[in-house]
């Protein structure tokens, strides 16, 4: 098979998986043929939708006739036979699903056609085909990756002309160059590992078939997004990943917070997408094409103001999708979804779409210094803003969520200053180590019976060695400690910022690096070190996760350790620069983002370990180490230290807080006040603007429309006479309209 046909197959495979799971998944997740329970397993499907296996369950219980829809056992029976009641050991396992979803919500009613109260557990097999297809897809992706990267090829696979109406022509075509290949590496690898991980994590959830269906649809959409060779395909993929994200955040739709978070993500993203759509429409109206190559070739002919407007509109989409200030609000809430979803969509892939899009559209952004400034400023601001919030979060997933916002902001910061390659480098390494961290946190939550609050964890390393070790690797990478992936990519961004003359941004970036190291290891220490702080009887149930969950962690730890060394050495001249050279050549040669008077503007001879570059590297490593040390001092060595620190806060704020800070768990709330006070206040204010004004406008429009709908529908009185009168009045109106509108 040629590489071209492999490329066309890559998105097709998860699509096939999606179709399989959505159409057949519910049927192959079936009750076991021989139950061990006298009363119970009833078959709730309707009249033969599952008639194929209807007979199998009949031998275990009284037959279910058509009229008896759902024999529900009495409450006592339920309790007595509930799979959870008698087998506490089995608690975490049988209740997959984070354990966050209470039993009464995971009752199976409405999630699938099965009702299993008191009955045998259904056999879940719907993961099998989707996962296998994604594995094949991964294999193909790697072949394509190798061909593109090491063969130095750019593939252009044009399937056919999709739209050819009037002045509007769009091809269904795939473009695989260095940039797409890097994304392909992250998306397919993390995607495959998340599929494997989900087999263990979601085991026991009765909506398993839906989960894998959505997951595969997401993979398909994401691949469409990165493979498409025009803005329309990018947009289609963009909207589709949003839809999947909505469905997956709200996967446990009976949990009101999950349903709310899904809605919020959807609506906030609409705001950004609206701008994005407008930007694409503007490109089409002004240039008459949406094809990447043609657009980039002719963008220079446009009026600079128009280019700036286009770039800013496109960036609005990126702000929404990649959760940048002020549209970041949806991402922390999105943690309501299952953790594999957080790892895949909200850390490693979908949220990168904004970064990818800006990088892809680099010729457009390079033409507009204003847009570049906006991108860089929003990036820097979001980076410190989100890092400040992450410092005080207690929910392990929230820490990682804010960290993701902050790291994505780093990438935008890099894009805005013209450090394109550094941004993509960080995207790749972040995709791996953040995916690892999220899956690790999922393993922790799973092992700790659904606990997400780090204040009630501690000492887990004794029981979860593999999770601990891999999490530490991921954390070292996030903290930017040398030899780990994050170190190279992050320091490349900082080095570029310094070299291009953004000294203030560089300083802020360094501060963020320090904060990142601190909150990351605060998380590690609170979770794995010290003593168990949760309920004493829960400790005995803490356990290492299933092999399907641990294996992806171990596998992801490998690129987390190696990818920086492989791609990033020597700094600012590593392999990745060669791979991506072609993509960013135009923008690089134009010197976009280089400030006058900076090192890069002068005769910048490149990186020198003994010059400023070496100092910068040292500084980066030093702040990382300092952050870890501070976290160690405060959370392991001397748990009283944070409290003391608080008392030293000037302006008399400290003493008032002292009494409260005696309570160790309470300290963090004080941090929220002190450290992130500004940030939180601002965040709240923005949340308010977002929730009341933007959400309000969107929901309000819907609400107003519905109100009017309710009013207007009353005009449909049901009486023929009124209708006829309405028509007669309409006749008069049309007559008058002809008089008025006559040319």
């Amino acid at each position: 098979m040629t590489v071209e046909s492999l490329i066309a197959l890559i998105p097709a495979l998860p699509l096939a998986g999606f179709l399989f799971a959505i159409l057949l998944g519910a049927r192959i997740d079936r009750l076991p043929a021989h139950g061990h329970d006298a009363h119970g397993a009833a078959h709730a499907d309707d009249h033969g939708s599952h008639s194929g296996h209807g007979g199998e369950s009949h031998d275990t219980h009284a037959e279910v006739d058509e009229s008896a829809f759902r024999p529900i056992p009495s409450e006592e029976e339920q309790r007595a036979t509930s799979p959870h009641a008698g087998h506490a050991d089995d608690l975490a396992n049988s209740n997959g699903a984070d354990g966050v979803i209470p039993d009464d919500l995971n009752d199976g009613l409405g999630q699938t056609g099965h009702v299993v109260e008191g009955g045998p557990r259904p056999v879940y097999r719907s993961w099998w085909v989707p996962t296998a297809l994604v594995a094949v897809m991964w294999l193909f992706s790697m072949v394509v990756f190798v061909n593109v990267i090491f063969g130095g090829q750019t593939y252009h696979v044009s399937l056919y002309e999709w739209i050819g109406s009037g002045s509007f022509h769009v091809q269904i075509a795939f473009l695989v160059d260095g940039l797409t290949a890097m994304l392909l590496l992250v998306v397919s690898t993390v995607g495959l590992l998340v599929h494997v991980y989900s087999i263990g994590y979601m085991d026991g959830d009765r909506g398993l078939w839906r989960f894998f269906a959505y997951l595969n649809l997401f993979m398909f959409s994401m691949l469409l997004l990165i493979l498409g060779d025009n803005f329309l395909m990018l947009y289609v993929g963009w909207e589709a990943v949003g839809l999947c994200s909505y469905a997956l955040i709200g996967f446990w739709y009976k949990k009101p917070s999950a349903a709310g978070a899904a809605k919020k993500a959807f609506i906030v993203n609409r705001v950004g997408d609206f701008g994005f759509g407008l930007g694409i429409m503007m490109i089409w109206t002004l240039l008459g094409t949406v094809d990447f190559e043609q657009v980039f070739a002719s963008i220079g002919t446009l009026d600079p103001t128009a280019v700036t407007v286009i770039a800013l509109l496109l960036f609005a989409g990126a702000v929404g999708k990649s959760a940048q200030f002020p549209l970041h609000v949806w991402l922390p809430d999105a943690m309501e979804g299952p953790t594999p979803v957080s790892a895949l969509i909200h850390a490693a892939t979908m949220v990168n779409a904004g970064v990818y899009m800006v990088a892809r559209a680099n010729p457009i952004f390079a033409e507009s210094p204003v847009a570049m400034w906006v991108v860089a400023s929003i990036g820097v601001f979001t980076a410190i803003f989100a890092a400040a919030i992450a410092l005080t979060q207690n929910d392990i997933k929230k820490v990682l969520a804010y960290s993701t916002v902050s790291q994505l902001a780093y990438m935008f910061f890099a894009l805005g200053i013209g450090a394109w390659v550094a941004a993509i480098f960080h995207l790749v390494s972040h995709g791996f180590f953040k995916g690892l961290l999220f899956m690790g946190s999922g393993s922790v939550i799973h092992g700790a019976a659904g606990e997400q609050d780090m204040r009630f964890m501690g000492g887990l390393r004794a029981k979860m060695l593999w999770t601990y070790l891999t999490m530490v690797v991921g954390s070292l990478a996030l903290a930017g400690i040398p030899i780990f992936a994050g170190f190279f990519s992050k320091d490349e961004i900082l080095g570029e910022a310094f070299g291009r003359g953004y000294y203030l941004f560089w300083a802020v970036g360094l501060l963020v690096a320090f904060m990142t190291a601190f909150y990351t290891f605060r998380m590690v220490y609170m979770t794995f070190h010290g003593r168990w702080r949760g309920p004493a009887d829960a400790w005995q149930h803490v356990h290492e996760s299933a092999p399907t969950m641990v294996a992806p962690l171990v596998i992801l730890a490998v690129p987390t350790i190696l990818i920086g060394l492989l791609l990033g050495l020597p700094p600012e001249g590593g392999l990745i620069h060669g791979w991506l050279e072609e993509v960013f050549r135009g923008a690089e040669e134009a010197g976009a983002g280089i400030l006058p008077g900076s090192l890069a503007a002068g005769d910048h001879a490149g990186f020198s370990l003994f010059g400023i570059g070496g100092l910068l590297l040292l500084a980066g490593a030093a702040v990382g180490a300092a952050g870890i040390l501070l976290a160690y001092r405060w959370y392991v060595r001397d748990p009283e230290a944070p409290a003391r620190f608080v008392t030293r806060i000037p302006l008399g704020l400290g003493p008032g807080m002292y009494a409260a800070s005696l309570n160790k768990y309470y300290v963090d709330d004080l941090y929220a006040l002190v450290w992130a006070r500004g940030g939180v206040l601002l965040g709240n204010a923005l949340w308010w603007v977002d929730a009341k004004v933007i959400d309000g406008a969107v929901n309000g429009a819907g609400w107003v429309a519905q109100r009017y709908g309710a009013l207007l529908r009353r005009s449909q009185t049901g009486h023929v006479q009124n209708y006829a009168l309405g028509m007669a009045a309409g006749l008069v109106v049309v007559l008058v309209a002809f008089l008025v509108f006559r040319a």
Partner: protein, 483 residues
């Protein structure tokens, strides 16, 4: 040049089919009545084939009363497609209610023959005859369930208001004849320029009479009631068949007849378009019964199609003008397939005749009948206008036509309305995939015939969404016949 009779071969074939079905019905025993469906479907297939024999003929026959051009062939082919789907969707529903299949097929075929005549008329007289031939069977279809009070009511309302609108249309036609001394569509172009105030009255009455059949606001009142009352698969046909005919009428009268004075009626059409799409969507938002919601949404679709007509009227460049007509053709065909199928899915959830197709019937459908839910999801996405479905291209076509014609504000109105419509269409998807079923879920009709027709429609919607090229070229070639 072909002779008159060869030119109307499709009409002859269809008439022969009607008579054949009518006669065969008499001789079939009750248990053999099912044979009528294959006869109808295969017969319609043959009629569709005969349509191709007049492709490219492009001439006027019967002393100028009848016009066989590629545009008429398009409408006839679309009519046949809709007719086949209607004939496939209905039998299982009718059988559950013990309604006569033979009468249904005959009435359906009569209505189709009216649409044929309408599509080919080049004279106001043939136009009127065709229109009445199309709608009178439609009244009967709306009231087809004779013993059902809702069906009675819907049918009677449809009939009374429809006849009222026909009378108004006819009055407009008579004045048009008086003012232009002709009933030929090609000779009434001077109506507005030379007709003065009387010309205005005439054209206003023509507008009311023809937009009524297309269910434009404020002449839409009959729509929801007739659609809700009618047996559900028949509603599917009513929502697309007569509408196809109505647009054939509009294209003939306003495109053929009054095309050159487009600037005079552009404003009214544009206003009607916006009123229609907005009114339909807003009221659809407030509906909880899916059948009635689809009825209102079909009003909104009329609005989008009217926007194509407005774009045609506003444009001056011939290429752009045809684009408006192309948009109408593409839209009515795509809409026809997806709407008839969507109504039929509602019908499939009414195997128990006491069910009314409320939103709750769709709750948890994904778990109960995954394939049906997925099919409905595709239909709803297509109705919303999300790629890669035919509905997306239909909307895109209208949008491009309006933008190219220089009426961007109409494009904005369409885009806003499409966003509004997403709320109620996607709500059904949310019900199917994210709700639990009712305690007593509606039984599902699983007859193979219905399933086959549904598969056909969904495949068509997806295939045309992925490969719209063949249909676009067909539409292009057809619209070229107009000018």
């Amino acid at each position: 040049m072909v002779d008159d009779l060869s030119a109307i071969l499709p009409e002859l074939a269809l008439t022969a089919l009607v008579l054949a079905v009518l006669t065969i019905d008499l001789f079939l025993r009750r248990e053999d009545k099912w044979l009528l469906t294959p006869i109808t479907v295969i017969g319609l297939g043959f009629v569709g084939y005969t349509c191709w024999t007049v492709w490219g003929v492009n001439q006027t026959v019967f002393a100028g009363f009848y016009r066989v051009d590629d545009l008429s062939v398009f409408f006839k082919v679309a009519t046949v497609v809709i007719g086949i789907l209607a004939a496939l969707f209905a039998p299982s529903y009718l059988a559950q209610r013990k309604l006569p299949l033979g009468e249904f097929n005959v009435i359906l075929l009569f209505s189709l023959s009216g649409m044929f005549v309408l599509a080919s008329s080049s004279d106001l007289i043939t136009l009127f005859i065709g229109l009445e031939l199309m709608v009178m069977p439609a009244y009967l279809l709306a009231g087809f369930h004779k013993t059902d009070r809702y069906s009675n009511e819907g049918g009677l309302k449809y009939f009374l208001l429809g006849s009222f609108a026909s009378a108004i249309l006819l009055f407009g036609i008579s004045w048009t004849y008086g003012l232009t001394h002709s009933t030929r569509l090609s000779e009434i172009g001077g109506l507005l320029t030379d007709g003065g105030a009387a010309g205005l009255i005439a054209i206003a009455m023509l507008t009311v009479g023809s937009t009524f059949k297309a269910a434009a606001v404020p002449f839409h009142y009959w729509t929801p009631d007739a659609y809700q009352g009618a047996p559900t698969p028949l509603t599917g046909f009513l929502s697309v068949g007569p509408k196809l005919g109505a647009f054939a009428l509009l294209v003939r009268v306003f495109g053929d007849g009054l095309g050159l004075s487009g600037a005079d009626w552009y404003g009214v059409m544009a206003v009607l378009a916006v009123l229609t799409m907005t009114g339909g969507n807003i009221v659809a938002l407030a509906q909880t019964n899916v059948k009635r919601m689809l009825a209102y949404s079909s009003i909104a679709h009329t609005g989008y199609i009217l926007a194509g007509l407005a774009a045609f009227a506003h444009a001056t460049d011939p290429g752009v003008r045809t684009q408006g007509i192309e948009a109408i053709l593409f839209y009515v065909l795509g809409y026809g397939v997806m709407n008839i199928a969507a109504f039929s899915v509602v019908g499939m959830l009414q195997r128990d005749p006491r069910r009314f197709g409320g939103l709750s019937a769709f709750a948890g459908l994904a778990g109960r009948a995954p394939v049906l839910a997925a099919a409905m999801a595709v239909l709803l996405l297509s109705l919303t206008g999300i790629p890669p479905t035919v509905g997306f291209f239909a909307k895109l076509y209208v949008l491009v036509a309006t933008v190219d014609a220089g009426v961007a504000w109409l494009a904005v109105a369409i885009a806003l309305n499409a966003a509004l419509a997403a709320f109620y269409y996607l709500r059904v998807i949310v019900y199917m995939y994210m709700r639990e079923p009712e305690a007593d879920p509606a039984p599902i009709d699983r007859s193979p015939l219905t399933a086959f027709a549904l598969a056909l429609s969904v495949a068509g919607i997806l295939l045309l969404g992925l490969f719209p090229d063949p249909i676009i070229s067909f539409v292009r070639a057809s619209a070229a016949g107009l000018l």
